[in-house]
């Protein structure tokens, strides 16, 4: 069985699904038997999920207008 330290070393590959089948099986076995590492795995997975699910904020209209002005100025036009 993997040690808890080995588990951490494989965590990224396991989460990114880049681990090979043998490693995958070993990690799975470890987190099935080690409650602490299961929590680390589960909460790290959720960390990635909340970030991936976050929509960016709208850009304020004033900032968009400023960008447009800067672009037109760059083209040698005054808008």
């Amino acid at each position: 069985m993997l040690s808890c330290k080995d588990f951490l070393g494989w965590l990224n590959d396991y989460l990114d699904e880049t681990a090979d089948d043998q490693v995958k099986a070993q990690v799975k076995e470890h987190i099935t038997n080690c409650p602490n590492c299961w929590v680390v795995y589960d909460t790290t997975k959720k960390t990635l999920q909340v970030y991936k699910g976050m929509e960016p904020r709208e850009v304020p209209e004033t900032l968009r207008n400023r960008l447009m002005e800067a672009l037109l100025k760059k083209c040698g036009k005054t808008g």
Partner: protein
């Protein structure tokens, strides 16, 4: 906002809003500024977020957003189209943001190639199960603030790798190229970044955190 010269096939073309990025780039290269304005409108939210996450500062992020778009516009003639426009824009933005960050912290060197310190032993302290639905405890705006603050509290070398890999979803190789660091460096920093964020977010999302409001129901 008419541009000098007539872009090729301007009359027969689709409305700009319906063109894909590659077509808008081609239109920009042919002198149509409106096409570039459409590219800016399309990507400004994500580019502003990226700049904010790297600089950790709204004012700097707004400057970086403008500098990056103008830089991309000036060099659009060099854009060969063998990568996606957005990926190219991300690289420009990362470079502008890192320059800004280095200027801000001129007393405290911001280095992306310093070795990762320490072992992984100190990386896991909090062991607490999370609430299944933290989004019910926090409003969307509160969630954004919690997530942004957590990222911005990381050291630049960790947050930059995390943002490129896990927010922008670049590959490990693309991240290494963009930051000019090695693939193993990306991997070790990503692990530390993810574990540090997990630790920070546990304070907000641990089970029982949101139960107080319903304790008497």
């Amino acid at each position: 906002m008419a541009t000098s010269g007539t872009p090729p096939s301007a009359e027969s073309a689709l409305p700009l809003a319906e063109m894909d990025d590659a077509a808008l780039v081609a239109q920009t290269q042919a002198g149509n500024v409106d096409a570039f304005a459409e590219l800016m409108r399309r990507h400004d939210r994500k580019i502003l977020r990226l700049a904010r996450h790297i600089t950790g500062n709204q004012e700097d992020a707004e400057d970086v957003l403008q500098e990056s778009f103008l830089n991309a516009f000036s060099h659009i003639g060099n854009f060969a189209g063998n990568s996606k426009f957005y990926t190219w824009l991300v690289r420009i933005t990362v470079n502008q943001a890192l320059m800004k960050l280095r200027k801000r912290k001129s007393d405290k060197q911001v280095s992306l190639d310093e070795p990762v310190q320490g072992d992984t032993d100190d990386l896991v302290r909090e062991i607490a199960v999370w609430d299944e639905t933290p989004e019910r405890t926090y409003s969307q705006e509160e969630m954004r603030r919690i997530l942004d603050d957590a990222i911005e509290s990381l050291e630049p070398i960790y947050r930059t790798v995390f943002v490129l890999r896990d927010v922008e979803e670049l590959s490990t190789e693309e991240t290494a190229q963009t930051l000019d660091i090695s693939v193993p460096a990306v991997k070790s920093r990503l692990l530390r970044a993810r574990l540090q964020l997990r630790e920070k977010l546990t304070k907000f999302f641990r089970r029982g955190k949101g139960d107080d409001a319903f304790a008497f129901l």
